[in-house]
């Protein structure tokens, strides 16, 4: 089986995001870039499939600037076979443009299973994997917490509001991964050193312009003003109930 995982680097979720003076970009200096958390869950699922079926090959692909190479190397160190870097000067924001570039590269090979994180935690679009499915005419099941593959058939658990939908499909398929049960493993130092010697295929991407959507500004959400401590221990409960019932009228 041939698996492809598409990953993106995003600011570490604990990073404080600072808006630049131009109000249109974010300050890059203090940011530590990591693999998008949902992509990590997808990678771990792929590695487990490979453990069960040694005939599996895993290719990992990423669109982004030079820095994404570091993440690709890390994924090779934990078990991916190949990596493809679609090189740009900076992250492309327009989801349409991103989907088209990736769809075009993905088309060059026949993959049985193509994995994406359900969204990247920077732009929070929830779009790319689904769009690529439409462009390349490959069915896509989004938001999956887990899946298993048996004889060319995939059974996937799609998380919806208050329930899980079980979908079944033939391969090839695109899955967008929700947070799963299995955390991504760490590379050993030895494997990491070995992975650094491996060549990462690099393809220069000519950035296409799509000005359908224009960014006006970035701003911080309104600051919540600090509330008050009503009191200590269970003696304070009556006052809380009174406030919620009489002042705020929310219960």
């Amino acid at each position: 089986m041939k698996i492809l995982i598409c990953i993106k680097q995003v600011p570490d979720t604990a990073t404080k995001i600072k808006i630049s003076e131009n109000k249109k970009t974010i300050e890059q200096t203090s940011i530590k870039y990591e693999i998008n958390p949902y992509d990590e869950y997808a990678i771990e699922e792929a590695l487990r499939l490979k453990e069960n079926d040694p005939n599996t090959t895993i290719t990992v692909m990423s669109l982004g600037p030079e820095r994404v190479k570091q993440s690709l190397t890390k994924i090779i160190a934990i078990g991916a076979d190949n990596a493809i870097h679609l090189k740009t000067n900076e992250d492309i924001k327009n989801s349409f443009v991103v989907a088209k570039i990736l769809a075009n590269e993905i088309k060059k090979e026949r993959y049985d299973l193509i994995l994406f994180g359900k969204k990247s935690v920077d732009q929070d679009n929830n779009q790319i994997g689904i769009m690529i499915g439409e462009i390349n005419q490959i069915p896509c099941i989004s938001n999956c917490t887990e899946f298993k593959i048996n004889n060319n058939t995939i059974t996937a658990h799609r998380e919806i509001e208050g329930a899980i939908q079980i979908f079944e499909s033939k391969l090839p398929i695109i899955i967008t991964q929700e947070k799963g049960k299995n955390e991504l493993r760490y590379p050993s130092l030895r494997n990491l050193m070995a992975a650094k010697k491996k060549t990462i295929e690099s393809i220069d991407i000519v950035e296409q312009i799509n000005d359908d959507i224009e960014l006006i500004k970035l701003e911080y959400p309104p600051v919540r003003k600090e509330g008050k401590i009503i009191g200590e221990g269970k003696e304070a409960v009556s006052e809380l109930v009174r406030i919620l019932r009489e002042e705020r009228k929310i219960i």
């Binding site: 958390p37 769009m131 069915p139 996937a156 079980i166 500004k217 970035l218 701003e219 304070a236 109930v241």
Partner: protein, 335 residues
């Protein structure tokens, strides 16, 4: 290219509240742009719900509850199928050629909006929290970086637009009753194609009927301070008393104490209920971004320096194992 198309969703035979948010916003835009306000609902909708929809100022309501095969055979649509739903919406788009298509930011809307956008080359903005009509186009605000930043973008006029609304972010407002034109349509996906599409085999609901954090108007959440998964019974009791959903911090989900569906935060759900009660949650950035837009936040924590108190409306410092049951008791008395 004119008019609005709202994509409505049904849950347990009812039009969802997030669909009513969509309709309210659609009516506002339609009035401002002096355009037709249309809606589509996929699945079987009963008369009560059609009546209900008459209060939202819809001009034409498209109902798609069947699929027609190439040979003319008609079958009822059963269960969610992204491809068939996409086809149904596309066939309405072909009829009315709308300028703006609005989805809810639900699991269905999130799945369908990108399909509609990419197939038609429309511009798209998901999970919007405000929309305004501008001469240059449609201006929307949407949270990025899990809500650490709000971006304002304009979807320019030269192209139809697809947007989805973040749930619980808009008001629901009824209009005076009007009679929409009701048009039944059928999707046209041939059986050969259907055979190759993913099929929904089964929907599994949790054993105990629970509310989902993304839809609940009150959430009671527990964190590491709960000390043991068994102790969540006091959270569940409080939640039951308030008809609330149970939420959880990343720490307790990662520890396997609670399911991921309950996780509130950057890699869980981003919620904005009327009331959020955080019990034994310190308030790390990861969690904060998931609940900061709640209308009222109450924190119960033994550490008076816990960050959660910095962005809570009301706090009680102390032992949650005393405070939470006491709160449940007090609420039961008057309810």
């Amino acid at each position: 290219m004119t008019g609005i198309l709202s994509v409505l969703e049904l849950k347990n035979d009812e039009v969802t509240n997030s669909s009513l948010e969509v309709l309210t916003e659609a009516k506002k835009i339609a009035t401002e742009k002096k355009q037709d306000n249309n809606a589509i609902v996929i699945g079987e909708i009963n008369n009560n719900n059609v009546e209900k929809l008459k209060e939202y100022g819809i001009n034409s309501l498209f109902i798609c509850s069947t699929n027609t095969n190439k040979d003319g055979r008609i079958t009822l649509l059963s269960g969610y199928s992204p491809e068939i739903y996409t086809m149904a919406i596309s066939s309405v788009i072909e009829i009315i050629k709308p300028e703006i298509i609005i989805f809810s930011g639900t699991s269905v809307g999130k799945d369908l909006a990108p399909r509609i956008a990419v197939n038609n080359e429309y511009s798209i903005a998901t999970d919007c929290i405000s929309i305004s009509v501008k001469p240059e186009g449609l201006e929307v605000k949407r949270p990025i970086y899990a809500g650490k930043i709000i971006e304002t973008v304009i979807l320019k006029t030269n192209n139809p637009k697809v947007i989805s609304l973040k749930i619980n972010s808009f008001n629901i407002k009824k209009q005076s009753v009007n009679e929409p034109k009701i048009k039944s349509i059928s999707s046209n996906v041939s059986e050969n194609v259907i055979q190759h599409l993913p099929v929904l085999k089964e929907t599994i609901f949790p054993e105990r009927k629970t509310l989902d954090v993304s839809e609940a108007s009150i959430i009671v959440s527990g964190g590491r301070g709960m000390k043991d998964p068994k102790n969540f019974n006091i959270i569940e009791e409080l939640a039951n008393t308030l008809n609330a959903a149970v939420g959880a911090s990343r720490a307790v989900v990662d520890a396997g104490w609670r399911p991921h569906s309950e996780q509130v935060g950057q890699t869980g759900k981003i919620v904005s209920p009327n009331l959020y009660i955080a019990c034994g949650i310190s308030g790390a950035v990861q969690h904060q971004v998931g609940m900061i837009n709640s209308k009222c936040i109450v924190a119960i924590n033994k550490d008076k320096n816990a960050p959660i108190f910095k962005f809570s409306d009301y706090g009680i410092v102390g032992d949650l194992f005393e405070i939470v049951p006491e709160l449940t008791k007090k609420l039961k008395v008057k309810n």
